[in-house]
């Protein structure tokens, strides 16, 4: 057993020792914070089921309170919905009247109805071996009716055009490829331009009217021309540098997944022949099939390919 004196000394020494330990813990926290946080996280992990049990009544009470508030607000909500319903019915009547009037006007103007585009949907597979740097293959399955020049769209906007058609897949040339040129219209400044891909994320605008420069942030839509229907959303104008307008595409060109290819049925929209127009004579399919010139010369083959010696 310790003497009374020793016990008194020990009792007086306890607090300084404990304070020293606490200072040690403070220093440990400054030097090795992750170690202390690791212990705390272990304790929290250990207590996680208890926390769940503690918080559970609070969550239940919240749910009950929400339900209770919903029940008390029911009458008010009902009145509001009835009012909204009345307003909606009014607008429904207005819409029906306007639709009827629109139909009547169209009929009296001999309006030609627009054709509803046919479309197929396919999953994108990357195109590694194609002729373009920015093109994708689209798996549309067998029995599709996709033609060259059809328009590919994702959920947000224009993606590109179909350049080659296979039995199961089609190749879509994307709008940011070097070879892509799309005629577009600028929604606010009403100018026409050509959107030219340059292998970057945002294609450039070229050939815009010099007295109507594109406005920063304005909408870019397709211009109705040959196979391309008008008014498809493309993106917005952005000046990446002075006098260098580019289009920030709406479509997510980097993360393509599901793509739709639309056929706008353009066969009948060929422009009529103009009087006095000189038709360009089509080149023969295989220009090297006829007899070669100078075939009468000796030692000269008279047919293309491997000549007879």
């Amino acid at each position: 057993m310790l003497s009374i004196h020793a016990r008194q000394v020990l009792a007086k020494a306890v607090l300084p020792i404990l304070i020293l330990l606490a200072v040690g813990l403070v220093l440990l926290g400054l030097v090795r914070r992750p170690a202390v946080d690791g212990v705390r996280l272990m304790a929290t992990d250990f207590m996680a089921p208890a926390y769940h049990g503690l918080v559970w009544p609070q969550e239940r009470a919240k749910v009950w309170l929400t339900d209770l508030r919903g029940a008390t607000d029911l009458a008010k909500e009902n009145a509001r919905l009835r009012e909204e319903n009345r307003a909606l019915r009014h607008w429904y009547d207005v819409a029906v009247a306007l639709a009827a009037e629109n139909g009547r006007l169209k009929k009296s103007l001999h309006w030609i109805p627009e054709t509803v585009p046919q479309y197929v949907t396919g999953r994108v597979t990357r195109d590694d071996g194609g002729p373009y740097s920015r093109a994708v293959l689209l798996d549309v399955g067998s029995g599709h009716d996709v033609r060259i020049g059809d328009v590919a769209l994702d959920a947000a906007g224009l993606l590109g055009r179909v350049t080659e058609v296979g039995p199961h897949t089609v190749r879509v040339l994307m709008i940011n490829d070097d070879a892509s040129r799309i005629p577009v219209t600028l929604a606010t400044s009403h100018g026409d331009a050509i959107m030219a891909g340059d292998d970057t994320a945002s294609p450039r605008l070229i050939f815009y009217p010099q007295d109507h420069h594109p406005v920063e942030g304005e909408r870019v839509e397709t211009r109705g021309q040959s196979t391309m229907p008008a008014g498809l959303p493309v993106g917005t104008v952005h000046y990446s540098a002075p006098n260098r307008p580019v289009v920030v595409p709406d479509a997510d060109l980097d993360r393509l997944d599901i793509v739709r290819v639309f056929d706008y049925g353009d066969d009948d929209s060929q422009a009529p022949d103009a009087p006095g127009r000189v038709r360009v004579k089509k080149l023969p399919q295989n220009p090297m099939t006829g007899p070669l010139p100078f075939s009468w010369l000796p030692n000269f083959p008279n047919m293309p390919g491997r000549g007879e010696q």
């Binding site: 813990l25 926290g29 304790a43 503690l54």
Partner: protein, 188 residues
């Protein structure tokens, strides 16, 4: 001893028989303040989403240690303060060691001046406690700034000090009642 023998009528010639059950009861009553600190620290570390939960952990621990260190030191020995501080440290996410050190310092002050504090009125005791609470919060804030190597806003520290000072009277009322009843080992 002024505060410890607060129930002189029980110190009669006839003492109750010391049984195991009575020893257990006495130990439980003596450990009540420490258990209160640990229980509230663990309870307040649960994700209730109540504003000021972490500050309340600190405040409850400070008030409890301060009160019991001068009013009944046998219920709050230094080792118990250390253990309580460790538990609060584990279940809080401030700079490590600051709560523990603050608790030990406030324990030292309270224990050293226990005779004087027992004679002082409530308001004077509260005032001294307030100064210590502000100093402890300032110490915590300084350590957080040192750890972040930036001058951070002292508002959370001031809020913690204000909360600690604010809950002191109600906690003291609870403890004064507890010292007479459920946390009184002499009544076991």
């Amino acid at each position: 001893m002024v505060a410890e023998n607060s129930t002189p009528h029980l110190h009669s010639a006839v003492e109750p028989k010391q049984t195991f059950r009575r020893a257990l009861d006495m130990a439980a009553r003596a450990a009540m303040p420490s258990l209160f600190i640990m229980f509230s620290a663990i309870l307040l570390s649960a994700p209730f989403g109540i504003p000021g939960q972490a500050q309340l952990q600190f405040g409850i621990a400070m008030c409890t240690v301060w009160f019991w260190a001068y009013s009944r030191p046998r219920s709050m020995p230094a080792l118990a303060v250390f253990l309580c501080g460790l538990v609060v440290e584990i279940f809080s996410f401030g700079p490590p060691g600051t709560v523990l050190l603050s608790l030990l310092v406030i324990y030292g002050v309270s224990h050293h001046w226990r005779y004087g504090l027992s004679r002082l009125g409530f308001i004077a005791g509260w005032l001294i406690f307030s100064i210590l609470a502000v100093l402890a919060s300032f110490f915590q804030w300084a350590l957080v700034c040192l750890h972040a190597v930036a001058l951070l806003s002292p508002v959370p520290g001031l809020f913690q000090a204000a909360l600690t000072i604010g809950i002191y009277p109600s906690l003291t009322a609870l403890f004064v009642w507890g010292r007479r009843t459920f946390a009184n080992p002499d009544q076991a």
